[in-house]
């Protein structure tokens, strides 16, 4: 796969490429700069910030400060669905921008940004406005934070900015970090009113693509667990402001939200652990872990009851699909978490993931959080702000006593426990970070996977080669795939994709057959025999 690369490229790519050893995950080079010209899947910091983390907040008005493109392409293209309360404006259907023109590049865009905020306020009267910087903003030196502060004073609503210029960091990942910092600074903790419920949690890093968050929320509700806020799928502004009042944070997408989980723990004392609601077995495991944390017999019993009910419905579907999918192979190249999570779903179906990788994950997502102290931040990511967080003197509250934690941990319970993708992949499977177009083509040629999970840019390339590609960002406009009902949806989807007729139609019958078909010898039909069998009405004769 690496043979064709020029020396310098080969040397760098070799470090982002390895054969897995789950016992002792080898070190991978991740979160390093993209090689120019290689055809990466990656996007930028703006996409990670505005597109991923904050974009889904449906009653926050989002303004992109920049030329037209960035806001246009992030308009309704990620399927973070929302159901605002009736009467509430859903800002996700709007794409707002300062549409910077040459004059603003030359003379600065601060005035236009301030005017745009005022106009937005006059028209929509939102509760909060978020402003996002794009590439030129940092270069020309527009101070969006001062503009936001002044606008906040003038209009009396919460207005804040994100310096998520596209060139920062090396991928979407920097945007996640910038978004986490901003949400934590400007929104979290503004309202101390807790929800009235016994088991209160937040679901962190779940963006409700195709309704996933709704599926998880309804499952948790069945168990008696209350979700105060899901960051940030179908979330309202007011839910963000109160999300520090819960007793537990569970983390689905480690990459995009681990910063927030850590900051909330430090400031408010809320512990967190990793869960996975993609895949039936892992969903059950995650539910049990939450029950264990709350240490309530009532909750534990209820969780077991719900798992039994859900599995009773799901098992026949899974077994049916497994009968057709068992032994087939998958390769997954998705963002920063799904390349790992979806392996569980494939495992449910008896399918093996033979190769996987992330666009922009860090070493901890590959190798586990244990390697965190050994990760060196390189020059390309050094300028991403790390905010220092301290315990809130008034609001910090340890959720468990040291004794309770000791008891939990003695029973094998772990906090802050992401073990990474590689520990769960088989030995000698392929792990590739920031895969290039060339490598995808080669992978198909060599490994011939039965299905590839990837994104829109790769989908049609992969399918031209006769391999079905499931988009694991947009779900090919389907979903949900989370929790038990979602798992059933996914099993059926993969069954359809790997067993559909179209792949058998790809090769034309004349391909590879140079012989001219023999011309059939046509003989006149026996007319009397035909007349006897013909049941058509006789022709009307005058």
């Amino acid at each position: 796969m690496l043979k064709i690369y020029p020396d310098k490229t080969k040397k760098k790519r070799a470090k982002q490429f390895l054969l897995n050893d789950p016992e002792n995950p080898p070190q991978i080079a991740a979160n390093t700069r993209t090689i120019p010209g290689i055809i990466t899947q990656r996007g930028c910091t703006y996409a990670g910030c505005r597109g991923v983390v904050i974009g889904p907040m449906h009653d926050v008005l989002h303004i992109t400060h920049g030329p037209i493109g960035c806001s246009f392409y992030s308009w309704q293209t990620r399927r973070n669905l929302a159901r605002p309360t009736p009467g509430q404006i859903n800002y996700l259907q709007y794409s707002m921008t300062t549409d910077m023109m040459e004059d603003e590049i030359i003379f600065g865009g601060e005035k236009k940004l301030a005017a745009a905020i005022r106009e937005a306020y006059r028209i929509f009267k939102p509760k909060a406005i978020a402003v996002y910087a794009t590439c030129p903003v940092g270069l020309i030196g527009d101070d969006i934070h001062t503009v936001c502060r002044l606008a906040k004073e003038e209009l009396g609503i919460n207005i804040f900015g994100f310096s998520c210029e596209g060139y920062k960091g090396v991928s979407q990942s920097a945007g996640h970090h910038i978004a986490n910092n901003g949400v934590f600074k400007h929104m979290v903790g503004l309202d101390d009113t807790p929800d009235d419920a016994e088991f209160r949690i937040n679901m962190l890093g779940e963006y409700n693509i195709g309704g996933d968050a709704w599926e998880i929320d309804s499952l948790l509700r069945k168990c008696g667990i209350h979700v105060t806020a899901t960051l940030s799928g179908d979330i309202s502004y007011e839910q963000v402001t109160r999300c520090h009042t819960v007793d537990l944070n569970i983390v689905q997408c480690h990459r995009s939200i681990n910063y927030m989980a850590d900051m909330m723990e430090k400031k408010f004392g809320i512990p967190w652990f990793k869960v996975n609601f993609i895949g039936a077995e892992t969903t059950a495991k995650s539910l049990r872990k939450i029950a264990k944390y709350f240490d309530s017999k009532k909750l534990t019993d209820r969780v077991e009851e719900v798992i039994a009910q859900e599995m009773a419905v799901l098992r026949p579907i899974r077994d049916d699909v497994r009968s057709r999918c068992q032994g087939k192979t998958a390769a997954l190249f998705v963002g920063g978490s799904r390349a790992h999570h979806y392996q569980d779903l494939f495992r449910d179906m008896g399918m093996k993931t033979i190769a996987a990788g992330y666009e922009f994950a860090h070493r901890d997502d590959y190798e586990g959080r244990a390697v965190l102290p050994t990760i060196k931040i390189d020059a390309d990511s050094r300028n991403i702000e790390e905010i220092s967080v301290e315990a809130d003197p008034r609001r910090f509250r340890a959720r468990k006593t040291p004794e309770q934690n000791a008891a939990l941990e003695a029973g094998g319970f772990t906090y802050k426990d992401y073990e990474g993708m590689m520990k769960e992949m088989s030995k000698n499977t392929l792990v590739i970070d920031d895969i290039s177009h060339h490598e995808i083509e080669k992978l198909i040629e060599i490994y011939k996977p039965d299905v590839i999970g990837s994104g829109i840019k790769e989908k049609f390339i992969i399918e031209k080669l006769g391999v079905p590609c499931k988009q694991l960002h947009s779900y090919d406009y389907g979903g949900p795939y989370a929790a038990f009902t979602g798992a059933a949806n996914f099993y059926k989807e993969i069954d359809r994709m790997v067993n559909t007729k179209v792949w058998k139609l790809v090769t034309a019958p004349w391909k590879g057959d140079p012989t001219v078909p023999a011309r059939p010898v046509l003989k006149p039909k026996d007319k009397t025999a035909a007349a006897e069998t013909d049941d058509a009405p006789k022709a009307w004769k005058k």
Binding site: I4, Y5, P6, T9, I35, P36, G37, I38, I39, R42, G43, T45, P67, I68, G69, F72, Y73, S74, W75, T77, N90, Y91, Q93, Y94, S95, M96, T97, T98, D99, M101, I105, K112, L113, A115, A116, E119, A120, R122, I123, T134, C135, P136, L139, I140, Y167, G169, V170, N383, H437, I456, K457, K459, F460, I461, E463, K464, G466, V506, T507, A508
Partner: protein, 459 residues
């Protein structure tokens, strides 16, 4: 309810753009580059742009869209993108081996002022560009114009870099089709062939972005204008350029550089638009005769308009999209007897308003015509005085749903239907398809909403 923040009351906006009816330059340049055979489009900027542009084109065509990027980091954004582009060129030619790399820029490289020709020259000296391979470029600052400008810039630059004049005039014409579908390019080529006129079309994305599935992936598919063909454009008898905004700049470049005279036509949508194209072709055809198949197609179109006249007459219609498309569509709407009351483009250019006033003032004097407008404002107008039909790209579907107005998708991008890359809207055949779509949309609404006693079997 959808778009419930949109009020009928109009507050003047000078700074805030809402639901744009345009996007930025580089995507247009990327599309134009894909119309060259064996070409790798290259985005000189940070990689997010390239990713967004590829994704958006892919969503429109449901086809692979491959392009490379310089992947700027913060360091490159301060010190310039020389090393990034040089390294990119080395990688592109070693790994993907295109015949030509067409570089466009983004707001990032434009603001820092990277001088692409100088970088390319130095990259060549360093051996980053193999013998016989080409690198061309165009400047596409996103803060000027729109994707339409980017398309026009790339077409002009391709011509500037590649078209040659040997002194010997070739018996062929140049066709610059504009930012239209591969299916439209096919249709323009079919008509030109039927008329017996030899031609070169640039760019030509048919065979590139409307490909088939046969188990093999070609990074550089069969389609696209070949480099020898582009070179020969300087020797052509004349150029027919479709669209003031998308194609005229390229035609003018060729005229200035190699003295190839050009004729500017509007996009051949509808009767008059196609008539003008066929008439123009007659001048270059061997005997000036119009092929009988073309005449028959025209007859079928006129027949269909006369059959369906009653359903079009005086219907209020809103038209939104790219300027050349909107001008052509407005002309066709008038031929059908529709009443275009709101006509907008997100792009900039006074020709848009001037031309539409010429077309509409005599028949729809109260029509609202606006350049640099957006879907938010269009929706507000519709709230104040509704329309019977919307002709727009996919983004029109939100207004269509919330106001319950039939929508016919037209232009770029169409993200939620598939026919557009295979079925033309140009020529007489394309007009027939448009009428089919328009009547279908109007009739579907009637069937869905009329009182039961008025539910008709025959329409």
């Amino acid at each position: 309810m959808m778009l419930n923040g949109t009020t009928a009351e109009i507050v003047e906006r000078k700074a805030l753009r809402i639901n744009a009816a345009k996007t930025c330059q580089p995507i247009g340049a990327m599309y134009a580059s894909l119309g060259i055979h064996g070409c790798m489009p290259h985005s000189h900027g940070s990689q997010g742009c390239c990713s967004y542009h590829r994704s958006h084109l892919t969503r429109h065509f449901k086809e692979p869209v491959v392009a490379t990027t310089s992947s700027f980091t913060e360091g490159a954004s301060v010190f310039g993108g020389l090393a990034n582009l040089t390294q990119a060129l080395k990688n592109i030619f070693s790994i993907y081996n295109p015949d030509i790399v067409a570089v466009h820029t983004t707001c990032l490289s434009e603001v820092i002022g990277d001088d692409v020709p100088t970088i390319v020259k130095r990259a060549k000296e360093e051996g980053a560009v193999p013998e016989g391979k080409l690198v061309i470029h165009t400047n596409t600052p996103s803060f000027v114009g729109s994707h339409i400008t980017g398309f026009a810039n790339m077409v002009s630059s391709i011509i500037k870099y590649l078209a040659e004049r040997t002194g010997e005039t070739k018996n062929q014409i140049n066709l610059i089709p504009g930012f239209v579908e591969p299916a439209d390019m096919r249709e323009l080529k079919r008509l030109t062939r039927l008329m017996g006129v030899p031609f070169v079309m640039l760019p030509d994305t048919s065979g590139v972005l409307d490909g088939g599935l046969d188990g093999e992936y070609q990074m550089f598919p069969k389609g696209g204008t070949t480099i020898p063909e582009i070179k020969s454009m300087g020797d052509s008898i004349a150029t027919l350029a479709f669209g003031h905004f998308t194609s005229n700049p390229g035609a003018v470049t060729l005229e200035n550089k190699h003295n190839v005279p050009s004729q500017l036509l509007e996009l051949p949508v509808g009767v008059g638009g196609t008539d003008a194209f066929i008439q123009a072709l007659r001048a270059f055809s061997p005997d000036g005769a119009v092929h009988e198949d073309i005449a028959a197609e025209r007859g079928r179109l006129i027949d269909m308009i006369s059959d369906m006249q009653q359903y079009f007459h005086q219907k209020r219609v809103a038209i939104a999209g790219d300027p050349d498309h909107v001008i052509a569509m407005t002309k066709f709407a008038l031929e059908l007897g529709l009443r275009p009351v709101y006509v907008i483009t997100g792009s900039q250019g006074n020709h848009f308003e001037k031309r539409l006033h010429e077309l509409l003032d005599p028949v729809v004097p109260d029509a609202k015509i606006k350049q640099q407008a957006d879907f938010f404002e269009l929706h507000q107008w519709i709230k104040n005085a509704p329309v019977d039909l919307i002709l727009a790209n996919t983004y029109g579907k939100y207004i269509a749903r919330v106001e319950d107005i039939p929508l016919v998708r037209f232009g770029f991008p169409i993200l939620d239907r598939v026919g557009h890359r295979f079925f033309t809207t140009m020529g007489y055949a394309g007009a027939i398809r448009l009428i089919d779509q328009i009547t279908g949309a109007l009739f579907d609404k009637k069937d869905r909403t009329c009182p039961e006693e008025w539910f008709e079997l025959v329409m």
